[in-house]
């Protein structure tokens, strides 16, 4: 079988990414003019909350692609080898989006406004026993150091794992060299996994998102955020697999691989719901005022529609539409559900971030959608660029054959 070596960016593809990025920039500008430059702190927070929501969500989604690579490396799983350049390319967006996200976060922390992060108000914290108690963790220094370090480590470790993968393109390797290569991969993937567990699976969602509701806490929160972004990341990978298959690339990737990607989308949608429910049910059951305060605007307040709508499209949609085997092997349903899942979890992030600064009314979602379009364009641009630089099929990877003969 002949292999088309590299992805060639079509005019349509780059045009679309530029258009989306333009929409994003315009939305940011418009939002800045209408809200960001306002005299009112509440209005300004609306601007920053939108940037926070979008940048954090898309950063975690592209980073989830590297998490997927590392899990398959650590499990010595070969099935994903034939399309592993796609998650790698997606994760190459981490540096750029990471810098954007880090800049936004630090601007919010040091900008002087306290509407989003109440704990940045040092005067107030002195008289607030709860925040004072948390101030060992929730303070500007720790936030800055940990945020910068986190983004830097994702960047560096991801880059290392990508360059290891690209090093296979030189030519076939012998058994001994192959063993060493796999072992080296395992070590670096394990390091990434440690960093990932200390960041995405624990501290980062606490710092970046949960501290919006600084008085409130939930032990489920980080897992919940992780599940949300991981399932969106799998959906994004599936979208790219379908796109490249349609363009005639990825000769060795077929329905069997798509089926497994579909299983990931299905399984982690259910996992997300499990965490959603566990977080909700325990708080509902014990009914403590300091805990129910988080759900007050979401379940009984103005965010009710967004809250339950995101549950429907993130749970019922994938559950019922992806349950059948044929649906997971069908390019059409996978595409449809991948888009639905990414949108649904983006909407979920919307209701995680906005009720903090804007408790009494739902902000106009069109601005946020515009900014999201900008990030989608940016991801398209960066991913396409990386895809076009390296071979699409790592045909000399030691596990390549395993992926070719894979069937579910």
């Amino acid at each position: 079988m002949s292999i088309r070596e590299k992805f060639e960016i079509t005019k349509k593809y780059s045009l679309l990414s530029y258009v989306l990025m333009t929409i994003g920039v315009l939305s940011v500008l418009l939002l800045y003019i209408n809200y960001g430059s306002s005299e009112d702190e509440h209005d300004r927070s609306r601007f920053w909350a939108s940037l926070l929501q979008n940048s954090v969500f898309f950063l975690l989604v592209v980073n989830a692609a590297m998490f997927f690579i590392c899990t398959t490396i650590l499990a010595w799983g070969g099935w994903a080898t034939s399309f592993r350049r796609i998650p790698e390319a997606i994760s190459s967006a981490v540096p750029v989006i990471g810098i954007i996200c880090g800049a936004i976060l630090l601007a919010i922390v040091f900008g002087g406004d306290h509407a989003i992060y109440h704990w940045t108000d040092t005067e107030h914290v002195k008289h607030d026993p709860i925040l004072l108690h948390k101030s060992g963790f929730l303070n500007k220094t720790f936030f800055t150091v940990w945020t910068v370090l986190t983004i830097f480590l994702w960047w560096v470790l991801g880059k290392k794992i990508r360059s290891l993968s690209h090093s296979t393109d030189i030519g076939p390797m012998g058994v001994e060299v192959g063993k060493k290569f796999i072992w080296k991969n395992t070590i670096w993937a394990a390091l990434f996994m440690i960093v990932f567990s200390l960041t995405v699976m624990s501290t980062i969602p606490w710092l970046w998102l949960m501290s919006i509701d600084a008085h409130w806490y939930s032990t489920m929160y980080s897992w919940y955020t992780f599940a949300s972004t991981f399932v969106s990341g799998m959906a994004l990978i599936a979208l790219y697999v379908v796109y490249l298959k349609n363009k005639g690339y990825l000769e060795y990737t077929n329905q069997e691989h798509l089926h497994d990607l579909g299983k990931f989308m299905f399984g982690f949608s259910v996992f997300w719901t499990y965490l959603w429910f566990s977080q909700y049910m325990l708080i509902w059951y014990s009914n403590q005022p300091e805990e129910t305060i988080y759900f007050q605007p979401r379940v009984n307040g103005v965010y009710k529609i967004v809250f339950f709508f995101s549950l429907i499209i993130n749970f019922l949609g994938p559950l019922l539409l992806l349950m059948k085997r044929d649906a997971k092997r069908n390019y059409m349903t996978i595409t449809l559900l991948a888009v639905l899942i990414i949108f649904g979890h983006w909407l979920d992030f919307f209701q995680m971030v906005h009720p903090g600064p804007s408790r009494d009314h739902v902000p106009m979602i069109l601005y946020d959608l515009g900014i999201a379009a900008g990030f989608v364009g940016l991801i398209m641009f960066l991913t396409g660029r990386t895809l076009s630089k390296h071979a699409l099929v790592p045909k000399y990877h030691p596990f390549f054959k395993e992926s070719v003969i894979h069937h579910t």
Partner: protein, 193 residues
């Protein structure tokens, strides 16, 4: 009781079995079933079996479980014996979700196991004929069902030709029955005359 006539070919190699199954199907013989000591990937496709419907059955059992749990708890907690528990409403859905989930899993799991056993005709005390007992050990056994038009000798020769190590003509009971092998053995002895 439906005793039928079969031509039973035994194969000692998986690699011979696959092309043999293909050739047998191509030449129009009716394969009753192929018995193997272990599951073989792709054999179902070669034999032309349709996909199993057991997952559809599982879905229906699951839905039944959901409905049963929801219906029963609703009836108990709101109609039959309403209790005030921590000031929660009588109809308190979040607290019931775990039970509803458990019953969904229980119904679909048990239902599918029982359905599987029924389809494979497996149950305590149920007896089935084996075409060749070594199909549980080291032989791959293919049984062709004879119709009125089947030429016995030709079929035997054909099976030997495609690689069967041993071919016999046999009468077997296709359904299951309750009882003991040694007492019931005559039911298919009769068919041979």
């Amino acid at each position: 009781m439906a005793v039928k006539k079969f031509i039973v070919g035994s194969f000692d190699d998986e690699a011979v079995l696959f092309p043999a199954v293909k050739q047998v199907r191509k030449s129009g013989y009716k394969i009753h079933d192929v018995f193997t000591p272990f599951p073989i990937h792709g054999l179902d496709k070669v034999m032309g079996l349709r996909d199993t419907s057991i997952h559809t059955a599982g879905f229906i059992y699951g839905i039944t479980g959901t409905a049963t749990a929801l219906g029963f708890i609703t009836w108990v907690a709101t109609k039959d014996w309403p209790l005030n528990i921590g000031g929660k409403p009588f109809f308190s859905l979040p607290a019931w979700i775990p039970i509803i989930f458990e019953l969904t899993v229980l119904f679909s799991a048990v239902g599918m196991v029982l359905t599987f056993c029924y389809l494979c005709q497996m149950a305590p005390f149920v007896k089935k004929d084996h075409f060749n007992l070594r199909s549980t050990d080291d032989l791959f056994v293919m049984a062709l069902e004879c119709t009125e038009k089947t030429n016995e000798k030709e079929a035997v020769a054909f099976l030997q030709n495609v690689g069967a190590t041993d071919v016999v003509v046999d009468y077997k009971e296709t359904e299951w029955w309750l009882g003991r092998y040694d007492k019931e053995i005559k039911i298919f002895e009769k068919g041979k005359q």
